[in-house]
Symmetry: C2
DNA sequence: AGTCCGACTGTAATCGTTTTCACTAGGCAT
DNA sequence: ATGCCTAGTGAAAACGATTACAGTCGGACT
C-alpha cells in the first residue's frame, strides 16, 4: 500500500479552495483568500501622539518628570516613593517597553552570549543549548543561537554576526577547519569551546573525555567476548579523531588489531560502509561508532543484511538518545553529561569574563556507559 | 553489568587532579588549575586609541573623510570610486565592524523576527525552525529563537522580550492558555501561528490539517482490519484537540466507538496509560497517538507487557522522525511537511508586513501517511 | 543664624549609526 | 558669462536610552 496523498484545505471551508499539494520542499507562496473577515484594527500597543510606540520620553511627559527619573525608576535607582508611583502608573498607561537597542548602545553592554553549534537537530546540541540558555537567563543574559551546519563559511558568517552584536562571550562547537585558524581570528570576546577541541587552541574548553569513553566501549565489548571490533568515526570534527585514538589504543592494549574508517556525518554513509564491510573476509563481529547518526546507519545495515543484533552484529555508540532504548534489543551507548556540559561552559565563560588574563583552562567530563542488549555476551542465545 | 563511573580529568594530565564526579545536573563550578601556560595577550580586534573597538568615526578618521561618507560606502550609497577605495582600505585597517544596536536604533528597523516554540527538543520544531531560519537569512533577517517549554509564564516573558527587541514579526506556537488571550495582548508586531491555532484567534496561521490526518490513520487501521482503536492525545495544545476530533468523527463514520484519553505530553504518561488500558476488559487492538513522545510510550508499554507489534498491539502516530523507521517493524506515522510549514510561515509573515490590513489568512497543509509494519493487516502472521 | 550634608531631581552629554540638508564643483545649455 | 542641474561630500540632527554633573531643598549641627 502506498502513501495516502496529502491535501491542503481550509479547515472550516465551505468548499475547499484550490487544493494545494503539500510538496516536500521548495518555496511556496501562500495565495489563499480568507473567508474570514477581520476587523481592520491594526493597532499595536499604546502609542504616543506621533503614532510610534512609547519611549521613555513619553513616559516622562505623562508622569510629569524628567527622563532621568524614569530611567532611575526602571533601574531601581534612588527615587522618592511619590514619584516612583507616578512613573509606574505612567509606564502602565503608556504601555512603555524599553528599547533594548538603545539600552545596549548607551550602556555598552549587550548582556548577550552567542552559541554556535554545528547542527541543532542533533539532540546532543539541543540538550546542551537548553542548558546554556537556562544558565544564561538565570544570569539575566540573552542567548543568540546559530547553526553552522558543519559549514566553515556559515561559521565565518556567524562569527561576524556575533562581532556586530557585540556579544560578551561565545560558546562554540567549531568545525575542524575553523578550529585550526581560530587563533588567527582575533575576536573581541572570550570563547569557550564545547564538544570539539584542539590542544593548540588557546581557548577555554569543556569536552567529553573522548578517548576514555571510546576505550570504555572497547573494554566492554572485549569483556563480552568480542574480538573483531571495527570502528566508524566522523571525519569533520576533532571529536571523531579523539574517539578513534581511544579506540585504537584500547584495542592495542588488548592485543587486538584496530580497523577503523572515517566517514562523513550521515547515516547513509555508515549504512553503506557496514554493508560493504560485512561482505569482506574477516567481517567484524562488532562495531563501535562515534555518533548517533552512524548508530542509525548500522541498525539499518543490519536490517538490510538480515543480521540480528547482537548475534549477527553487535554495536555500541555515543549519545543516549531516547530512541536508542527502543531499537532492537536496545543499543549500548555512552551517555554524555549534556546538562553539565552546557552549565560548565557558561561557568567557564563567566569566570573568564571576570579574569580575562588567567591561563586557559580545559574541563574534561566523563561519560557513562549505558549497557543494553546490542552488546550482549557473544555466543549467548538471542532473546 | 552496571554502568562504568564517569570520571573527569585533564586529557593530557600528568596526574589526574582531584577527580570530579560528572553529576547529572546541578551547577558545577570549574575549579581546575591549568597546566598550560598561555601568553596573556588579551588583545581583541583592532582598537582605536582609547582602547575600544573601532567605530565608524575611527574609520572616517583613518580614511580622511566624514562619517557620512563611510556610512554611504557601507550601504552602497553614491560615493566616488576614489573615496570608496580609501574607505574600504580604512575599514580593513581598523578591523571595523558595524554596531548593530546603533544601526537598529537609528534606522528603527530591527531586521529581526522572533520564533517562539514550545520545545526545541521536539524534532518537529527543530525542523521548522531550521526552515524559518533559512528563509529569514535569505531575506537578510535575523531570528531570535525561544523555548517556552509549554509554560505560559515563560511565553509571557518571551513575548515581552520580543517587544523590547522591537522585532518586526513573530512566528509562534502558543500554549492553549496563551492562545486564548492572544487577542487581548496587543503586540506591536504581526504574529503568524504555527502548529497550533484557534478559530477565534485573529492571526494568520499555518497548521497541519489535523482532523484529516487523524482520520487518515483511522481509515488505514480500519482497512487493515482493526476495529477497537483507542486514541491518546496531548492535553496542552489545540493540536491534540483537533486530532481527537478527526479521530472521533472518522470512527463514528465507520460505526466504531471512539475511546480516547488526554495526557500530559510525556512518554511516561502514555506508557502508564497503555499499561492500564490493556489490563481492562475490551482491551484495544490498536492505538492512535498524537505525538512522537506518546509513540515512544506505547512502544515501551508493549515491551513491558511483552506484546508484539502489531499482533499484540498495533500503533500509529505523528511525526516521521528518523528512528520511527527503526523501532520494531517500523512505526506507521503521519509525516508533516515541516519544511513547508516553516517557509510558509515566513511567507505569510512577509505578506502581512506588506499589507497589514488584509484579512486574516489561514494555511492548512496536508500530511502524508507513511505506512510501516506497526499497522500490518490484523491476523497476519508476525514476521 | 549660618553651614553643611544627604537625598532627590533635572539638564545635558553620550553611545554609534543613518539621514536630512546645505553646500561645492563641474558640465551643459542658454 | 550666467544659470541650472547633478553628483559627491560634510555638518549636524536624530534614534532612545544611561549617567555624570549640578542644582534644590529640608533638616541637623555648631
Amino acid at each position: 500500500m502506498g502513501n495516502a496523498p496529502g491535501i491542503a484545505l481550509e479547515t472550516f471551508s465551505e468548499a475547499a479552495p484550490a487544493p494545494t499539494r503539500s510538496g516536500q520542499a521548495g518555496p511556496r507562496t501562500a495565495k489563499i483568500a480568507s473567508p474570514f473577515g477581520v476587523p481592520s484594527t491594526t493597532t499595536g500597543l499604546q502609542m504616543n501622539a506621533s503614532g510610534k510606540t512609547a519611549s521613555i520620553k513619553d513616559v516622562a511627559l505623562a508622569a510629569g518628570v524628567s527622563v532621568a527619573t524614569v530611567s532611575r525608576v526602571l533601574s531601581n535607582g534612588p527615587v522618592s516613593e511619590a514619584l516612583r508611583k507616578r512613573v509606574e502608573d505612567a509606564v502602565r498607561a503608556t504601555g512603555y517597553r524599553p528599547n533594548l537597542s538603545a539600552r545596549r548602545l548607551r550602556s555598552q553592554h549587550s548582556q548577550t552570549i552567542g552559541l554556535v553549534v554545528s547542527d541543532i537537530r542533533n539532540p546532543f546540541f539541543t540538550a546542551v543549548s537548553r542548558a546554556v540558555e537556562d544558565a544564561a537567563y538565570r544570569a539575566g543574559m540573552r542567548v543568540i543561537l546559530c547553526n553552522s551546519d558543519e559549514n566553515p563559511e556559515r561559521e565565518e558568517l556567524y562569527l561576524r554576526l556575533m562581532q556586530e552584536e557585540r556579544i560578551t562571550g561565545l560558546i562554540f562547537a567549531p568545525t575542524r577547519a575553523t578550529l585550526d585558524r581560530l587563533d588567527t581570528l582575533d575576536l573581541d570576546f572570550p570563547v569557550v569551546l564545547i564538544d570539539r577541541n584542539a590542544p593548540t587552541a588557546r581557548h577555554d574548553a569543556v569536552v567529553l573525555d573522548n578517548p576514555r569513553a571510546a576505550a570504555m566501549l572497547v573494554e566492554h565489548l572485549h569483556a563480552q567476548g568480542y574480538r573483531r571490533i571495527a570502528g566508524l568515526f566522523g571525519n569533520t570534527s576533532t571529536t571523531g579523531q579523539e574517539r578513534y585514538e581511544g579506540y585504537r589504543s584500547a584495542m592495542a592494549a588488548r592485543g587486538l588489531a584496530p580497523a577503523a574508517r572515517f566517514l562523513a556525518p550521515y547515516a547513509d554513509a555508515a549504512e553503506a560502509a557496514v554493508v560493504d564491510w560485512m561482505a569482506e573476509r574477516d567481517r567484524p563481529e562488532a562495531f563501535i561508532v562515534s555518533n548517533s547518526l552512524f548508530l542509525m546507519g548500522v541498525v539499518k545495515a543490519a536490517r538490510r543484511l538480515k543480521l540480528s543484533i547482537p548475534d549477527g552484529l553487535a554495536v555500541a555508540g555515543f549519545d543516549n538518545e531516547p530512541w536508542t532504548e527502543l531499537v532492537g534489543p536496545g543499543l549500548t551507548v555512552i551517555e554524555q553529561p549534556v546538562q553539565d556540559i552546557g552549565q560548565s561552559a557558561m561557568t567557564l565563560l563567566f569566570e573568564r569574563l571576570e579574569a580575562p588574563d588567567r591561563p586557559r583552562r580545559r574541563l574534561v567530563l566523563g561519560g557513562t556507559c549505558i549497557v543494553r542488549g546490542s552488546t550482549a555476551a557473544r555466543m549467548a542465545d538471542a532473546d
